[in-house]
């Protein structure tokens, strides 16, 4: 099976961190905080669909809330397969990063 992508990993990690509070807007805020870059709704929801299609997350509609103007959330939960894939991705990134200048603070560029 091919490895998950960077953005997929960001979503899986955010959803795992947020736990029961993982839904579209909260995941988006987490990703923007962590990366310092804007996360578009289009990218977020199409990637969530892809992750759901692969069986890495489960999503369902939550109850409508007042702060959302009486609209529902799309709640997200990472599945066991999703956890496994995210762990594989993390281990791979950690392994490949060992010894790289940005992990050891050694200057390599001239």
């Amino acid at each position: 099976m091919e490895m998950i992508g960077e953005f997929e990993y960001l979503i899986l990690s955010s959803a795992a961190r947020l736990g029961a509070q993982a839904y579209g807007a909260s995941i988006r805020i987490e990703i923007e905080k962590a990366t310092g870059r804007r996360c578009s709704i289009g990218a977020l929801y199409t990637t969530l669909d892809r992750l759901e299609g692969k069986g890495f997350v489960d999503t369902w509609m939550g109850e409508p809330t007042r702060e959302r103007g009486g609209r529902s959330k799309r709640l997200v939960q990472v599945t066991a397969t999703g956890v496994k894939e995210a762990s594989n991705f993390f281990r791979t990134i950690s392994r490949i990063s060992k010894g790289a200048s940005w992990t050891t603070n050694r200057p390599t560029t001239r």
Binding site: R28, G42, R68, G69, R71, S72
Partner: protein, 314 residues
């Protein structure tokens, strides 16, 4: 980030109506989720529009990457729209001649002639059957399209309408015959004087009448078929197989009715078809099965209503 979320309520912003309009292109559940996210996040106006537009574009363009869509268009939508436009055109031509003859040239003196009534009756009968069979074919074609997966249904439906109109507009069947003759090195038919010149000179019969025929006998039945095809998922598997098979057979039978179809056959087959032209009138009548489908649906609905009323009155 240059455009931070704000605390003003989304719904009071000028951009909100545009966001609402754009979100209408999304599915109902997704629309609710996205509007809720934007409200909660307090996205700025232009960012909210860009966000929703981005999602709509992604959703709409994703369907074009679906191989099923291209297969459906190539194997069903394109051939069926061509066939229906060809038959609708010949039906419209036939109808225009009869309408012009009887409506534009009505003469009360003729009504005293028994032969006039005999011919009128026969013509009305034949033309009604032609129209009814065309409507049934359109319904069957629509039914097949309606059975497509939901992901490609909307785009297939729109493509069908566009191709149907385009084929009708550019007179694709005639162009196909010319192209076929050119391809086989056959001399093009000499342009003969139009025997229906008085009819084609009339703007109503030349411009509007064919489109009226196309709308009433093709587009509306096809839409009804699509709706029924989509709803047929509720039927049992066996029933669905029977209905889809009947629709496929009907569409195949439609082939023999297309004026240019004979070109694709060998001379012996064409001769055989000509010799048995009376028998060839029968298969199209078999395509009237949607009538029985509606009767069965109606009877079933009546039975259910009656049972419900009986239960309520007890």
């Amino acid at each position: 980030m240059d455009n931070e979320p704000t605390n003003y309520p989304m719904s009071s912003r000028k951009s909100w109506p545009i966001v609402l309009w754009l979100s209408g292109f999304l599915g109902q559940a997704e629309k609710e989720v996205v509007l809720g996210d934007l409200t909660e996040y307090g996205e700025s106006g232009s960012r909210a529009i860009a966000s929703v537009l981005g999602l709509v574009v992604r959703r709409k363009s994703a369907v074009f990457l679906d191989l099923r869509l291209w297969l459906a268009v190539a194997l069903v939508v394109l051939p069926v729209s061509y066939l229906l436009s060809a038959i609708a055109e010949s039906t419209a031509g036939e109808g225009a001649v009869y309408s012009w003859m009887y409506l534009n040239n009505w003469d009360w003196v003729l009504t005293r002639n028994p032969g006039f009534w005999h011919v009128l009756r026969e013509m009305a009968m034949n033309f009604s059957i032609t129209c009814f069979v065309l409507a049934c074919w359109s319904w069957c074609a629509g039914f097949l399209i309606g059975r497509f997966p939901n992901a490609i249904l909307q785009i297939s439906r729109n493509t069908f309408i566009v191709l149907l109109a385009a084929s009708f507009l550019v007179d694709a069947p005639t162009r196909f015959i010319h192209f076929w003759m050119f391809l086989h090195g056959l001399p093009l038919r000499p342009s003969l004087p139009d025997i229906h010149a008085p009819i084609t000179a009339n703007a109503f019969y030349h411009v509007f009448f064919p489109w009226i025929v196309l709308t009433i006998l093709v587009v509306l039945p096809a839409f009804s078929g699509m709706r029924q095809g989509n709803r047929s998922s509720l039927f049992e598997r066996k029933m669905r197989v029977v209905l889809v098979t009947a629709a496929i057979i009907s569409v195949l039978i439609m082939l023999i009715q297309v004026p240019s179809f004979g070109l694709l056959l060998g001379a012996p087959v064409r001769q055989w078809m000509w010799r048995n032209r009376n028998a060839m009138q029968v298969p199209p009548l078999l395509c009237c099965w949607p009538m029985f489908y509606f009767i069965a649906i109606g009877v079933g609905r009546y039975g259910r209503c009656k049972a419900a009323i009986t239960q309520c009155t007890r």
